[in-house]
């Protein structure tokens, strides 16, 4: 992945960073949903 990243332009690098952050947020929400189910 490191090598591939070196090749891409600044805009794409920024977009990848944002995408990962968004996905992490999604995962966090999914975890919370399970937790809520557990507590029911």
């Amino acid at each position: 992945m490191e090598e591939k990243l070196k090749e891409i332009n600044n805009q794409d690098l920024l977009q990848i960073y944002r995408l990962i952050l968004e996905h992490l947020e999604f995962l966090d929400n999914e975890k919370k949903k399970i937790e809520e189910e557990d507590n029911k």
Partner: protein
């Protein structure tokens, strides 16, 4: 790579979506799957972050050029030349004009500023080898007692208590001290002049005056050249917000270039030359009110000359009355009661008001005499501006007449800006145009630049448009400086975007 990542995430979401959560076991399985994905994603994020940091590092490693700071320190040393500025009397050289004006302004507002100001004035006298004691403050006992406290290095709290106690006996303590300082200066004026003269002669033993002024020009040019294409400074202007990436869009820059320059006339030197003349013209517009007042003064030379002695005579008379009044109050009466306090205070206030008025008249008369001694109707505008910028009181009083709501801090900034500006020796217009020629100026400038195929118009120079014209030309110069420094504006935009994102993420 973005597509690859997107489809990976979509696939994961689809899988997660169908995983059952009906039992504790199933929920645990789903959670494990999410935690696994989270671990992978955090690893991915750290790799991307590392790549971003690598790209930012070339900016983070930029360093300030030490040479610039060193040259600026040397330039500051050249300020010694202000000490033998022909347009200053010892009063201004000691900065009494500034301090006494501040004292006058603060006296009803803030006691700590008043005390700080008084201490600065005491230091100014000390610097010219005049050490003041409480005995010098002989206009009234309350002012003398307060000065005694200040001279004893009492704390602000002690000074506050002392002031409160004395204030109820005589509310004019600070005004009295102000007048007392003016009187002390006049009594010692010859001695103070001698002090500055001796220092100057001492300097001339090993140097020439021109050495310092030449050095000042050389250092200023060197600093300007180094700053103009310094990549660190240019970059910092973006970081601090002084520059915005959107100000340097290529299409906008080209449009501005075409507005002012014909083909082949667009060069860096032409830009600098135009900028210099526009700034000189702007100074002329900004200080039109002062220049026209100076013209009036020169027109009324006979009427205004020699009023100094009259004011001085009145001052001496009133100072003697003030001292007598104080002595009379302190004398123990042989018979009967001490003179009524109210009557004494009434008389004291009246003399103090008259004396203050006469000192103002005296300051004005001294300034007028200086104008008549140094300037004529043929003096160039730069000579007139140099005289104006050497006299703080004149500058402040005329500026306040124009706009009484203007804050003193802005006036001070403008005064210092003008002083620094006229100390520069590199002028095109201001040192060639006499005070009386200023009317034809617009046409003169436009004709000169049109000849050089620069498309400047009278419209560009109108009072409402001049700021815009200067800002356009400055924008073109800034753009050229950025390019010459080797800074890539797209890279800067990337830096600012990354920085914003990383800072937000770190919060």
């Amino acid at each position: 790579m973005i597509d690859e990542l997107n489809s990976k995430y979509t696939e994961f979401k689809n899988v997660i979506d169908i995983l059952p959560v009906n039992t504790k076991y199933n929920r645990k399985r789903k959670l494990d799957c999410i935690l696994d994905e989270e671990k992978n994603d955090n690893e991915r994020l750290s790799i991307v972050r590392q790549e971003i940091e690598n790209r930012l590092s070339k900016f983070n490693n930029l360093k300030a050029n030490d040479k610039i700071e060193e040259l600026e320190k040397q330039l500051e040393k050249c300020n010694i030349i202000n000490e033998w500025n022909n347009y200053n009397t010892a009063y201004e050289k000691m900065h009494l004009d500034y301090y006494l004006y501040q004292l006058h302004r603060y006296y009803k507002e803030d006691l700590e500023s008043v005390n700080a100001c008084i201490k600065k004035i005491l230091d100014s006298f000390k610097k010219v080898e005049i050490v003041l004691t409480k005995e010098d403050f002989d206009f009234n006992n309350y002012a003398r007692d307060y000065m005694e406290k200040i001279l004893s290095n009492a704390s602000n709290e002690e000074l506050k208590l002392c002031f409160e106690e004395l204030y109820w006996k005589n509310s004019d303590i600070i005004r009295t001290i102000e007048i007392n300082f003016k009187s002390i200066y006049l009594r010692n004026e010859k001695k103070i002049n001698k002090y500055y003269e001796t220092r100057h002669l001492e300097f001339l033993k090993n140097h020439k005056d021109s050495e310092i002024s030449d050095m000042r020009v050389k250092l200023s040019d060197e600093i300007k050249a180094l700053k103009g294409n310094d990549i660190y400074l240019e970059f910092q202007k973006f970081v601090s917000g002084e520059y915005s990436v959107s100000d340097f869009k290529e299409a906008e820059i080209l449009k501005k270039r075409d507005t002012y320059f014909e083909e082949n006339s667009y060069t860096y030197n032409n830009l600098l030359d135009l900028n210099k003349v526009l700034n000189e013209y702007n100074i002329l517009i900004k200080y039109k009110y002062l220049l026209s007042d100076m013209k009036d003064k020169l027109d009324k030379k006979i009427e205004l000359k020699n009023s100094k002695n009259n004011a001085l005579k009145e001052i001496n008379k009133e100072e003697t009355s003030l001292k007598k009044l104080n002595a009379k109050r302190n004398r123990k009466p042989l018979f009967g009661k001490k003179k009524n306090d109210d009557k004494w205070l009434f008389e004291y206030k009246k003399i103090l008001t008259d004396i203050t008025k006469n000192y103002d008249e005296f300051d004005k008369a001294c300034f007028n005499d200086l104008v008549f001694e140094k300037l004529t109707q043929d003096s160039t505008i730069i000579e007139v501006l140099r005289l104006i910028s050497s006299n703080y009181l004149y500058f402040v009083s005329k500026t306040c007449e124009l706009d009484e709501n203007q804050s003193i801090n802005i006036i001070n900034d403008n005064f210092n800006e003008l002083k620094n500006y006229v100390n520069n020796n590199d002028f095109t217009l201001l040192n060639n145009v006499a005070l009386l020629d200023e009317k034809q100026m617009k046409q003169l400038i436009v004709d000169k630049y049109n000849l050089g195929r620069i498309k400047l118009t009278i419209d560009n120079l109108l009072d409402d448009n001049i700021d815009r014209t200067i800002s356009d030309i400055n924008n073109l110069i800034d753009y050229e400086n950025i390019i010459n420094s080797g800074l890539n504006i797209d890279d800067v935009a990337m830096y600012l975007d990354f920085k914003k994102l990383l800072d937000k993420d770190n919060k």
